[in-house]
Chain length 149, copies 2
DNA sequence: TTGAAAAGGATGTAGTTACATTTAATGTAT
DNA sequence: ATACATTAAATGTAACTACATCCTTTTCAA
């Protein structure tokens, strides 16, 4: 079923504007999947993304600014997401040695273990719902990159 | 610049999982554009989407359920978005004749006029940032449809 | 017909996001 | 050194989202 049937809109002014709507709709569809994937683990999507960035840097710390810079969804408030992760013991904050304004954020062992579990979930989800071939995925990546210029 | 440079992540486990990240990132990028497009008109993105659905039905009304069904972002609360639009005089609520539980929502003249203005903005934005050919857009639509199955 | 279940919306409320402001540390020009 | 601007992060607050619950109307079976 294509986007036109999904949202019951027959006409679009162009394929491009249809693609814009399709992008928003597909993202929302995907987000719902992710929310229900993370919920049993007590994580929100932004929390998960911060954890993944931290793991990418591990064992080096990340400053809050670095996290903001790399967050997929720039709109959320990094400090408060880190608060939540810290409450759960998934990350640790330390004052940065070189610049005492900055805060070094580290992922904890517990955080790493949680991500390992989530990797399994994500992998099995992706395996189940991977409807695109590598080639198609590659094409999609190129088109999305092109949209952003 | 591709997604890998944008979010400074060198490795992805597959082209598909890279595409998933790319989709989220591109959607966020797009959303920021839309927010700043709508803001001068005092509209949020969900409000704009509801207005567009109402125009699609015009001069027929839409019930709240129909709006929920067609909203791109299912997560937001239709009743309250309609509250906001009503406060601004962009829509009108009437009790549905056939079923007094249901509410018929109509877009007002003022709402239609606002959308006309916004059409111009959207068109000029799309013209400026339309980096995809019709063919590429069509390909993108197919790939997005395929992701959702 | 009447009483339970279901449907359409509205509303309460906890948690989040958006954005401005604040606090503290650093950089920089005099 | 001193003052002023800038930067990093935290925080206050209003608005919004997510989700459960409620209220009213309709449906439908007994």
């Amino acid at each position: 079923m294509g986007i036109a049937e999904d949202i019951k809109q027959k006409k679009f002014s162009s394929e491009f504007s249809k693609a814009i709507v399709n992008l928003i709709y597909t993202n929302s569809w995907l987000n719902q999947k992710h929310v229900s994937l993370f919920k049993p683990f007590g994580l929100t999507t932004p929390q998960f993304n911060i954890l993944r960035i931290l793991r990418g840097q591990h064992p080096e710390p990340s400053t809050v600014n670095l996290l903001i810079d790399r967050m997929l969804d720039k709109s959320s408030n990094a400090s408060r997401i880190i608060d939540k992760l810290e409450e759960k013991g998934l990350v640790v904050r330390k004052q940065c040695k070189d610049d005492r304004r900055a805060v070094d954020v580290y992922i904890s062992e517990k955080g790493l273990a949680l991500l390992t579990e989530l990797d399994r979930e994500m992998d099995s989800w992706e395996k189940d719902s991977k409807n695109l071939t590598e080639e198609e995925s590659n094409m999609l990546n190129q088109l999305l990159d092109k949209i952003r210029n």
